[in-house]
């Protein structure tokens, strides 16, 4: 055989060896791959079952969460309601306190007048009535009836303004009113809550600035802001000055309310409108006051509220309201 053929045969033999080996190997490999495919299929089915199980667990969890959320919302609404009732309660206390002064004065005056009348009648019975005695009685009677009338008028006025606030507070009706006057009325209704010898309240601005809005909501806003100043702003003996400035720019009414209390540290300033944020939980604060205030201003009153504060100097709330709600 020629060497050329020999080489070729050698080469062909090698190729046959390789092919035979490959065939053997591929039989083994095929069987293994089939087994792998079977187990893979089973594994994937299992994983799909796992996923379905998880899905139903997740669905249950999310419905539980939804329920919990609904309960919380209900609880929050309830708390808001309670807060409203508390505001109404303090109003009633205010009414009682304010009215007791003129009514009490009237009672004293009336009983003095009754005493004088009784002794005049006795004198008349004995027939020794002197002209001077009669004149004296008439003077007293005139003065005291005058005073009684004044006091009762004052009481009547108070009842009237309280009635207004009370009605506004419970029912949310819209009407047109003078912002400044209304603030005065609310401030008076709150006056029993603070000592007049410690704190002063001023309300600045043009009487003529009128707004068509929900007075009850505004009363609640102002009540919350003032009570916050009194509770959080001042230590026991500190004298405070609470001040409202009412101004009008174009169609916006701006109420600036400031106190000169302790102020609010920067790191909590952005949280104060959050529901349940309070630094006075142990004193019974619920942390809802400013949250409600915020909602009332932005929703019911269709305005905006912002806060600025400096520790040691005081706090300023700026409320912008449209002259007329829609």
């Amino acid at each position: 055989m020629s060497p050329k053929f020999e080489l070729e045969i050698k080469q062909l033999n090698k190729e046959i060896r390789i092919l035979k080996k490959k065939l053997e190997r591929s039989e083994v490999d095929r069987a293994r791959l089939e087994a792998t495919n079977r187990s893979k299929e089973f594994l994937l089915k299992r994983v799909i079952c796992d996923l379905q199980e998880y899905q139903s667990i997740l669905e249950k969890k999310s419905s539980d969460l939804e329920q919990a959320f609904n309960e919380l919302t209900k609880m929050k609404d309830k708390l808001v309601e309670t807060e409203k009732m508390a505001a109404l309660g303090s109003l009633v206390a205010g009414v009682a306190h304010e009215i007791s002064t003129p009514v009490g004065t009237s009672v004293t005056l009336a009983s003095t007048l009754m005493d004088e009348t009784r002794s005049l009648m006795m004198t008349v019975k004995t027939g020794q009535l002197k002209r001077s005695t009669l004149n004296n009685y008439l003077d007293i009677a005139k003065e005291s009836t005058n005073l009684i009338l004044n006091n009762l008028n004052r009481a009547g006025e108070l009842v009237q303004s309280f009635k207004q606030v009370a009605v506004d507070q419970s029912s949310l009706e819209q009407r047109t009113f003078s912002v400044k006057h209304y603030l005065e009325e609310v401030a008076i209704s709150l006056s029993p809550q603070f000592r007049k010898d410690l704190h002063t309240v001023t309300i600045e601005g043009n009487d003529a600035i009128a707004i068509h809005s929900y007075p009850g909501a505004l009363a609640q806003v102002v009540t919350n802001l003032m009570t916050n100043s009194l509770i959080h702003g001042y230590s026991q003996q500190a004298k405070g000055h609470l001040r409202f400035d009412v101004t009008k720019y174009n169609d916006q009414i701006v109420i600036q309310y400031r106190d000169d209390g302790c102020g609010i540290p920067t790191q909590i300033l952005e949280k104060i409108f959050e529901p349940f944020f309070t630094t006075a939980r142990e004193k019974g604060g619920s942390g809802l006051g400013l949250h409600i205030t915020y909602n009332l201003v932005t929703q019911k009153l269709q305005g905006r509220i912002a806060v600025q504060s400096e520790v040691g100097k005081g706090t300023l709330f700026t409320i912008e309201l449209p002259t007329s709600v829609t």
């Binding site: 060896r17 390789i18 035979k20 190997r25 490999d29 293994r32 792998t36 594994l43 299992r46 994983v47």
Partner: protein
Amino acid sequence: MLKVAIGHSSDPDSLEAVKEVIQQCQSTLADQTPQAGLLFAAIDFDHHLILQQINEAFPKIELIGGTTDGEISSVLEFQQDSLTLMLFCADDIEFRASIGRNVSQNPEAIARQAVETAKHRLTLPIQLCITVPESLTTSTVSILQGLKAALGTIPIFGGAAADQWQYKRTYQFFNTEVLSDAVPVLLVAGKLFFSYGVAGGWRPIGKRSLITKVNKNIIYEIDGKPALDFYHYYLNNSAPDAVYPLAVFPPGQEQFFLRGSVGHDLERGSITVSGDIPEHSVVQITDASIDDVVMASQTASTEAWAKYPGQAPDAAIFFSCAWRRHILGTRANEEYQAIAHSSKQVITGCGFYTYGEIAPLSDTGQTFFHNTTFVTLLIGSQ
């Protein structure tokens, strides 16, 4: 200067194959004498004959290697039932091979001794260690601990010898010896640059379960039930399969590592895995697709190239998990294609499919016994 030669033959005839491989190497080397070599061979060859032939061609060569579950090289790319040999020549790089025998008797001490023996014969500073240890007779993790004890922070690379998925007997090579239950090591010292990349491609799927009872690498209970139940649930009551390793999330961690099952106890319901597992770890079964596997190999290669400190490496050595080949099936060559395309140039390289890869973790630099990963090691002269 490092010179690397490579030979690869798929001839099932041992003598013909080794002759072909030697011839390929000699044509690259011209008349240079190689100092050291790595030999990766399929299980069916006559390994004694092969080693003798190599030793006759290159007397005094420092050679290590082992049996495989598939071989890869830049000559024939992916092959099964083949033989690949890589030879090194360099005057400023030292190579020293050594062997730890009967390693199962005391894996840590014997592995450590093997390194010490090779170290004594080195004069230059050690750069790295390559090993192809036994994995069926003893814990590769323990062998690795012994190697680490002797090497300190010097990185170790390699793969556990394999036997084409028969799980009966693997062989390790040391010069002219064919051994089992042994750990051959090759220390490389001197003016060598190297870099590496490691990537997996397996993803956790299915339920997250809690390991409730574990002792080192033996898991007794998962979710309060026998650990075997966990595998039975997913694998239709068949035995734990290494192709589906566990993803292990150590307590409080988002990162996982993989642990394949290496044995189980039907009576106790326990599973023995390829490395220790921290208590209270969360585990998940894993799966890999062909694309995941190929992508990951590319990632490992790209990472190694990106980190290479010198101009350009002279050679690449690959260790890829046998389970990857299993997933790849008839598309096994795609893994080699992916790394070949991801590198900047065609580079002399060889490697094999292992029963567990050894390489440092990329974040801590601690050498780790991996499963299901692809390791690329690039080397070149400084």
